[in-house]
Assembly symmetry: C5
Homo-oligomer: 359 residues x 5
């Protein structure tokens, strides 16, 4: 069996040790891909979509009256990100957190913007869960989003922006942030669905006795995936809860109901994860029982065969002895009498096992 090693990213931490606070160190996988900057600028009636080539252009948007969404893909371009940071007046620790992909989901409020870090989850081609960090800066009339690489779960939001579906164009940047977070959280459901299916498959295998010997390895890997997902999702719950309680002035009262909806979804996801954990523990239990039952069966076969034939073999050995005088040996029907006796013993033991329910 090929072992899929689930990495826990601990090795990323080291790059950071001993640097002065606020030093930008990208801790994800170095990719050669270039930075990609995408911008949407919209009011209720108009929308402009651009792929920016120059960092300086970003500045321009900030001053408009419309709502601007700037999405940055690729966190290894440290200098460009520092530039953006300067243009938007971001605290050095915020920039450090944006590029440090080992960050825990969190929300930090600064004077005129809100900083949100969360985790985007998806399965890659080899069915491994990938955790990608997404950071948001919510300003009065803009949202910045930072992703590790291209490809995300926001296409639906882009479509709604372009076609003006739903309320999105009519509302402010706080609703845009909601729409983006909602897209991330919605995607969690597909992750837990896949997890659920994996667990049910394992369970079916176990019920039907098809379980391979290495089921404990699969169980171990599932446990880890669940731990990983749990760790990515659970802190978000608390964050959204705080948003929903109206702690952050940048998020308007009107939008808070929507955040409550996200919160409900996160609770649902969390509950499912906890149920999966419990189901996996049960699975392991069942597996242990199965092993014990199987061993019991093996032992029964051994015991039945041994208990029947060992005494019979002894009897046969007895009359195979070469003593000069063994009276039974001379009897004409001695052999047949012995066969009869052996047969009766055989029947007797069968009955005994039957009564003990071993057969």
């Amino acid at each position: 069996m090929k072992k899929k090693k689930v990495k826990t990213r601990t090795h990323n931490y080291k790059k950071h040790i001993g640097k002065a606070p606020g030093t930008l160190v990208y801790t994800g996988k170095k990719t050669e891909k270039q930075l990609k900057i995408e911008s949407f600028d919209y009011t209720k009636d108009t929308i402009t979509e651009n792929v920016l080539t120059n960092i300086a252009d970003v500045k321009a948007h900030k001053e408009t009256d419309s709502v601007t969404w700037i999405n940055i893909d690729g966190l290894n371009a440290i200098t460009e990100i520092e530039n953006i940071g300067k243009q938007y007046d971001l605290h050095p620790l915020v920039l450090e957190d944006i590029v440090n992909t080992a960050q825990r989901p969190k929300i930090d409020e600064y004077d005129d913007y809100l900083f949100v870090v969360l985790k985007m989850l998806y399965y890659d081609n080899e069915e491994n869960i990938v955790i990608e960090q997404v950071s948001f800066i919510l300003g009065k009339n803009y949202v910045l989003s930072f992703q590790e690489s291209e490809g995300d779960v926001f296409d639906n939001v882009r479509e709604r922006l372009r076609h003006g579906n739903g309320r999105i164009r009519g509302l402010k940047s706080d609703y845009l942030l909601y729409a983006l977070i909602d897209a991330v959280v919605d995607n969690y459901f597909s992750i837990i669905e896949t997890l659920g299916n994996k667990i049910e498959d394992l369970e079916t295998d176990l019920f039907e006795g098809n379980a391979k010997e290495d089921i404990s390895i699969e169980v171990q890997q599932l446990k880890r995936e669940i731990l990983k997902v749990r760790r990515a999702i659970f802190p978000l719950r608390e964050i959204i809860n705080r948003v929903e309680k109206g702690e952050h002035s940048l998020i308007l009262q009107r939008t808070i109901n929507y955040y409550r909806d996200i919160y409900d979804h996160l609770i649902q996801v969390s509950e499912n994860i906890d149920i999966y954990r419990e189901m996996i523990w049960s699975l392991m239990d069942m597996y242990m029982t199965t092993i014990s039952n199987r061993m019991n069966e093996v032992m029964k076969v051994l015991t039945i065969i041994s208990t029947i034939f060992i005494p019979l073999t002894f009897l046969a050995g007895l009359y195979g002895m070469n003593f000069e005088y063994i009276p039974e040996l001379q009897y004409r029907y001695g052999y047949f009498v012995l066969l009869g006796v052996m047969f009766l013993m055989f029947l007797g033991l069968l009955y005994y096992f039957k009564r003990k329910k071993w057969l």
Copy 2:
């Protein structure tokens, strides 16, 4: 054994992913059954009962002075539900939650109505627990209830309305809501009773040694049922607790005592569920012990038989050897002496096993 697969509804989530918030998607089982709208309009002295055919008729009731209960069966009729939503001025997220049957029990307060989601539990014909979502809208003088399909636990409430039993006709819509929730919660008791019986049956089987080999599967299924029920019931507890604390102005002080009663019932149900969980864990433990004990017994039989006959067989083999000179073989009573020795060995071992309490 036919495997009853307990589905956990995760597959429903997907339909939703990527839709704009507030989009109505019915996530239950599509049924072709038509929407059924039932209305009760009553004061202390009068009552009118109707089965509505036209959505527009619903509007009429809202303006009356009497208390109106409108019960809607069938959530797949999205457009009609949207119409009701417009007539009663319901928030889009409320409508989305009503038809999203994967909703968690919750209570949301809006400006002039209260939105309550809970779960109605019952056993279907194949002894599977069915979880049906029921949503309530409590307005000043009306209650709307939405169910997935026909058939519910409210017949008793209908009877009391029709015949004016108890206090129900003399009080306001908040008491009606209480009566409806109370009916749902009362029914939980029959669910946990059935669960309790199942556990006791399993236990009796185990005590009396009648346990089939697949007891761990039944245990697993019971665990899941309990998880399912737990998840449907536990959030409700917190909701009713908040109602009881008087957080919601639509529920009058006079009625709050009654909600306290529901709360007590929910605590009782919850406690029972937790006790069942613990009992099931114990059952599994006992089952493991039973397996080990049984294996012990099997091993003892094998060991006793082997320990007695293997040495005897060796002795018999010894005198079955064909050496030219084995003095014992020539002794006239050699055979009988050996038989005697063997018998003594046999007795000795029996005594040994007796002392070791293996017999």
Copy 3:
């Protein structure tokens, strides 16, 4: 083995389902015994004790200036209890709770009385724990107590009332309530003592190897008893805690110290129960270890005997073959040489087992 089935009373719930709130349904065991009403009316200097025959007489006491204790045995007399309820102006839900013996311990404050439900525990003749519900109504100058049947733990309180021992006659109804609750709680100690003894007996059996095969059944039953007791006692702790914090105006400041004493006792009882739970879990663990150790021992005996005699038997079989030319068979002392070889093998294996510490 006679199985003692521990009932968990779930079957009582059903009687209630679908009744209008406030309907009185006695859920205990129907007994034909008559209602018995006992009354004490006392001041510091005088005391009148009566067994009432007429419900109407109860009314009279309420208006006196002295403290009155009315004790009602037998909850199946629904109509009489309804009468008392009317005379003392009790809320319908209170009456419902008094006769519903599946009630959880609780305290509810009403305008001019306090309603307390708790559980009286005792062992019946067959050593089963019996849980009897006792409800108290504390008014300004009276205490009503309701019990399922005759026989209680209040005899000591009655004696103190009659002879004016201690402070009881000089204080108000809130002290009387304290004295009654204290009597109930004091009795919990004898329950947990019996539980403790049972656990120690089991443990001794296990230590001394006298454990019967069905120890897991006894453990299971003990676990249940503990669960049962726990559930009857734990909610009371919180109730007394609230009383002690002075939340209820009917209980005077002077008496609160005494309630603190009850609270301390309940904490002690609870701690003991939790210790017993942990001890029982440990017992089960130890039992599993014992089983495994015993199996190990059985396997060792089997292995030692088999390992010694199977090779010897093979050797004997070898020289029992009928080949025409087996040189060893012709040697004059072949047999004795072989016996010597066998003996050496035997010694060698003994030494091997000794070194492995199997002997």
Copy 4:
């Protein structure tokens, strides 16, 4: 094996049941020893030490301006303790708690004194943990201490008083109380050190394979000791925490820092206890693994021997048959060919076991 029975003192409770509240019942071991009253009366510059013979003398001290410490050994002298209670105006429940040695550690504030109960732990000569109750009454300028019997951990405090070491003579009664409690808590460290050593010894035994068969009994006893210590120490933590928060006016601000120090110590002790608990659980786990590993080894020996010799024995038996015509038997070298075949089979099986890593 001599069983050390760890008593849990439940049997003491019974003496108390059914007594009027405030009745003094000594629940410790009845000893014939006499009451011993010791008093220290000191100011910054002077100190008087007395062993009192008359209870009435105690009164005198209370009125002095200096700080007085009166230490009473022996709680079975109920009447004398009642006298002290009267002289110092103690609440009857306080006196009841002082002599009821099954009391839980607690702190109760009364109008002009503070009542503290805690547990002094030490090992007796047979290495059993002894729990002795110590009660303190802290008044404005006096401390009363009550112990079950002579011998305590306060000698160091006495020395400091006598020689005026440290701050003790210069400060008030609240510092004296601190010094006494500190002495009790300091001694907990030696208890947990002994516990730690016991656990490490067990662990070493297990690692080195010297574990006796009854290790589970020792583990069980350790678990109990830990439970016992835990129960004696943990409630104290909360008490000191409340003192440290300044809830009690009799303890001056200046002294509170010192109580914070005790609190830190208690947290340390508690943490160690919890670590020990976890280590013991792990030990049990390891022991189970050890048992299973040992059984595995036993089974392997059995299987190897059986798998090698059972087929060989069959072959030997085959040529021991007495058929008239078995061609192989007539071959001149049949015997040697068979021996060769047997040897090859033997080698083959050895290789097989080698590859399976059983050898």
Copy 5:
């Protein structure tokens, strides 16, 4: 196997028992190394670095306007530390805590300084985790740090001070304290990384079947290391949380954001530790399963061989008997018929095992 004994330092406590509070007792390992005092005195533009030889020189720094960091290595020089204590007016309990290396991480606020104790973790040359206590005193314009011995994780901070990198020279003593704590916490990541690697190595061994028999010992040691690290790190979390909430006036608002960063790091470390704990529990579970599976395999081999050959051996024994009249023995082809029968039995059993999936 060489046993690495993980010491838990309990033996240090004893030195302390019975001393007056405020007595300085160094509880670490006595080393002969001398006290080393190092000082940095800096403003935005200037920096003076000294290795002090005289304790009295320390005083001088306190009065300067610049920020001073004095680092003291070696806690066994009790008298010198007492001198420093006097010069800086430190509370006796603070000094006691500085030299008592069994201290728990904590923060205590005094009138004009803040006292922080935490644990520096590193691996020594033998791969054992070493826990060294570091204490900080934060005054208005100075930081004192106390370490058990030379060698620390602050070199990076020293470099930044010397070269004026980052913000450190421009800010006050509270930022210096932050930088020092940050250095300690950063180093935790390398500890947990090593732990993570150890766990993954164990896991790989287990997956690939290379696990030695003593894996449970390694698991036990890992558990202990984790407990140790946990205990050193977890209390710090709460401390930093309190700092971050602005409870301490000596830490300026501007610096608090930086402490929030440390808090995030600590949460990350804690989460990893908890994940490692869970993974280790799972490992143990998997190991148990592995053992059981292996035993199952052993048993199967035994059972297959026994079940096949025991009946065949019986048959051979049957025809090895010496009865005078056994008709089969005279048949010309009796031997070959029997061989055929045996071969069929052999095939039959093979088929049986195949169907049972034992082969």
